[in-house]
């Protein structure tokens, strides 16, 4: 499991890339990836999930925390390229009602 982060040149777009297990064990790392980002309000957070092979309910909770964080600062969260397995989990929780899910994003290529 690993979490990495990219910030766009203008600082308005933060991409959080998660690989492997997305569960309670990475909650601190995940939080660090969006907190304390200098500068701008209204940041768009892209959470890239193509390489996630497992996700538990606390990971859904972490996404909700990020959503709250973004909303409070006039930003938004976009979930990108969930793998089929992860997409099923998001669908059961009906998270498309809460998040924008982008299935075709090419922003990040590993």
């Amino acid at each position: 499991m690993s979490i990495s982060q990219k910030i766009s040149a203008d600082g308005r777009k933060v991409t959080i890339i998660i690989k492997g297990h997305f569960d309670y064990k990475v909650s601190n790392e995940f939080r660090d990836a969006y907190r304390n980002i200098p500068g701008h309000e209204s940041i768009t957070y892209h959470v890239y999930l193509r390489d996630v092979d497992y996700m538990d309910s606390s990971a859904l909770g972490m996404l909700l925390l990020l959503r709250e964080h973004a909303k409070c600062r006039g930003g938004e969260v976009i979930i990108e390229r969930p793998s089929e397995l992860i997409d099923n989990i998001l669908k059961v929780a009906n998270f498309e009602q809460l998040f924008t899910i982008d299935y075709s994003s090419q922003v990040y290529a590993s």
């Binding site: 309910s57 909770g61 909700l64 925390l65 059961v92 929780a93 009906n94 809460l98």
Partner: protein, 582 residues
């Protein structure tokens, strides 16, 4: 009553602090320095040259710290450590290994067997002192840990007792439940509504353990209280959602599915908010007849649910079976990293041959799959057979008739009928008032409606069904006799009925509420009562029609019919308002 953590530590020191330090080493010369130093620090020391003797010393003396050499004459050090760990569960005894060779591989076995630390020969008094201080800290931590486990076990007992007190027995319902920690964040609730229908809720809080179990009690409370009062599942789920939203921090939520089976056993409705598919299995083949997918986000995430909660209505046949489960069941991973999975679960249902054997098939496959493995999430599987016996405990004769009709053209009508024994078990006034509140149509304030219904119902029950009027009319006109007689009659009440009906109507062009109350009694002198009211005479409490003058004040019209066992009351918003403003 309760000891604080500090108290516990003090007591521990008093009882165990004067224990011995045991040194187990076959070369006595090697430890003379260690022994002398320990004594100079104020410890009482026991020395043993063999493992067997050491076991005897530990059994007979209060030993609270052990130094063991990795190799003993009669047994490997790890064997002695294994023995200590198995036999001293009451109070933790730290074990420090004495090592003569730095590359001694036996040290690893000893640590694996339960050793806590090691020192290499050539150690100084400072090292010994530091080592003992570390072991004392370890013992205290162990003690605190044990205390916290004990508290959790007691907490779990309290929670389980509270939950089972709320849940009703549902004949034939089977539950498989395994929790990852002492507390479970999975929850199964069952309750019956006044109409005899069954409500079952399976819920799964984020995570597991104590933090996941915190929301369990308020949810269980709301579920059972609202079901018993006749609220429909949608309203119950919305209220639970609201409560959880205020209670749980962001990032915590509760996925839930709720099942309602009608009292006639012909229809069932299923709500699914973030849970895995709910299955309806065919009674004969056990094949999946219907699959109800999650259509909502889990509860507790959004403050309110504005739109209607979608649900599925299903026709059921006797013998069909509902299967509900939490994702812990399908997400469990075996020792080779393979997931139990949804397809395995569905395959088991198809293979079982009959709905009846499905539960057992899944249960044994699951137990086999994760035999001896610690679970990382709570697991719950529930099977609810739609047998005639499911509703048996609620005999149809005593059933409450309960109907709501909503028709945009005629407005709504709501009727509730209590028969025989239910008259002593259920207070219909609260149920009807809640139903009215549910309709969201406030021609009358809740308080006024409650007053009106209470008066009409009391009258119908006491003077109609229970026929208590003659007590007052006879020579014994005392309150105690009346109360005693009333209790006696209520106690053995197994006949009669009271029917309460509310209807939204237009009366003289105004939005109004029509209230009808009818009972099975022989009626009373309502003509006398009404003329009394018009003449302004007051009635004794408890006599025929007490409270009726108050009702007359609150309403637009009040009419007794027939022999006095039927009364019709019309309340409209103007009248209601004017009274409130007086």
């Amino acid at each position: 009553m309760s000891a604080t953590a500090e108290d516990v530590l003090t007591i521990d020191r008093e009882v165990h602090g004067r224990g011995y330090v045991l040194i187990v080493e076959d070369d006595i010369r090697a430890i003379t320095d260690l022994e002398a130093q320990l004594e100079s620090f104020g410890h009482r020391v026991l020395v043993s040259s063999s493992g067997k003797h050491a076991v005897e010393l530990i059994e007979k003396n209060n030993v609270d710290l052990v130094f063991v050499k990795t190799h003993l004459i009669d047994m490997p050090g790890c064997k002695l450590i294994g023995h200590i760990r198995e036999n001293s569960t009451e109070c933790y005894k730290p074990v420090v290994l004495l090592v003569s060779e730095p590359d001694d591989e036996a040290l690893l076995d000893c640590m694996a067997a339960g050793g806590d630390d090691f020192i290499i020969y050539g150690f100084t008094p400072v090292i010994i002192k530091a080592c003992i201080s570390a072991m004392e800290q370890l013992r205290e931590l162990r003690h605190l840990y044990k205390g916290s486990i004990h508290e959790q076990v007691v907490g779990k007992q309290i929670l389980s007792a509270a939950l089972s007190a709320r849940n009703i027995d549902v004949d034939g319902m089977r539950i498989l439940s395994r929790s990852a920690a002492i507390f479970s964040g999975d929850l199964v609730l069952s309750a019956r509504n006044p109409g005899g229908g069954l409500h079952i809720l399976l819920a799964d809080f984020t995570g597991h353990g104590l933090s996941a179990a915190i929301g369990v009690l308020p949810v269980a409370d709301m579920f059972s209280v609202m079901t018993e009062k006749g609220f429909e599942p949608e309203k119950i789920l919305k209220n639970i959602n609201k409560k959880l939203h205020t209670l749980l921090p962001t990032g915590m939520f509760m996925a839930a599915c709720m099942l309602e089976i009608d009292s006639n056993m012909r229809n069932a409705s299923v709500w699914n908010s973030g849970m895995p598919d709910v299955y309806l299995l065919d009674r004969e083949s056990g094949n999946i007849k219907r699959r109800i997918k999650s259509t909502h986000i889990p509860l507790g995430i959004n403050a309110g649910i504005d739109n209607r909660l979608e649900y599925e209505v299903l026709d059921i046949l006797p013998g069909d079976q509902f299967i509900m489960h939490t994702d812990g069941l399908t997400d469990v991973i075996d020792s080779s990293g393979i997931m139990f999975g949804v397809s395995r679960l569905e395959h088991l249902m198809g293979e079982a041959g009959s709905a009846d054997s499905v539960f057992h098939a899944i249960e044994s496959a699951f137990n086999q799959f994760c035999a001896g493995k610690e679970l990382s999430d709570d697991v719950t599987l529930v099977s609810i057979p739609c047998g005639a016996n499911l509703l048996q405990s609620f005999s149809s004769e005593a059933a409450v008739n309960y109907q709501v009709n909503r028709n945009s053209k005629d407005g709504w009508r709501f009727m509730m009928e209590l028969n025989g024994p239910n008259l002593r078990k259920v207070d219909p006034v609260q149920i009807v008032v809640d139903q009215y509140r549910n309709m969201g149509d406030f021609v009358v304030s809740i308080e006024s409606l409650k007053d009106i219904l209470s008066a009409l119902y009391e009258n119908a029950l006491n003077h109609g069904v229970l026929e208590l009027s003659h007590i007052y009319n006879s020579s014994e006109k005392n309150d105690d006799t009346y109360r005693e007689e009333r209790n006696k009659r209520i106690e053995r009440l197994d006949y009669g009925f009271v029917r309460i009906e509310l209807q939204q109507i237009k009366y003289q062009g105004n939005n109004s509420l029509l209230i009808r109350v009818e009972d099975s009694g022989r009626g009373f002198d309502h003509v006398g009562l009404m003329s009394g009211i018009y003449n302004g005479s007051k009635r004794m409490p408890g006599t025929n029609g007490s409270g009726i003058p108050m009702v007359r004040e609150l309403c637009q019209s009040l009419h007794y019919q027939g022999r006095g066992n039927k009364v019709e009351v019309i309340v409209d918003s103007r009248k209601h308002c004017s009274i409130n403003h007086e």
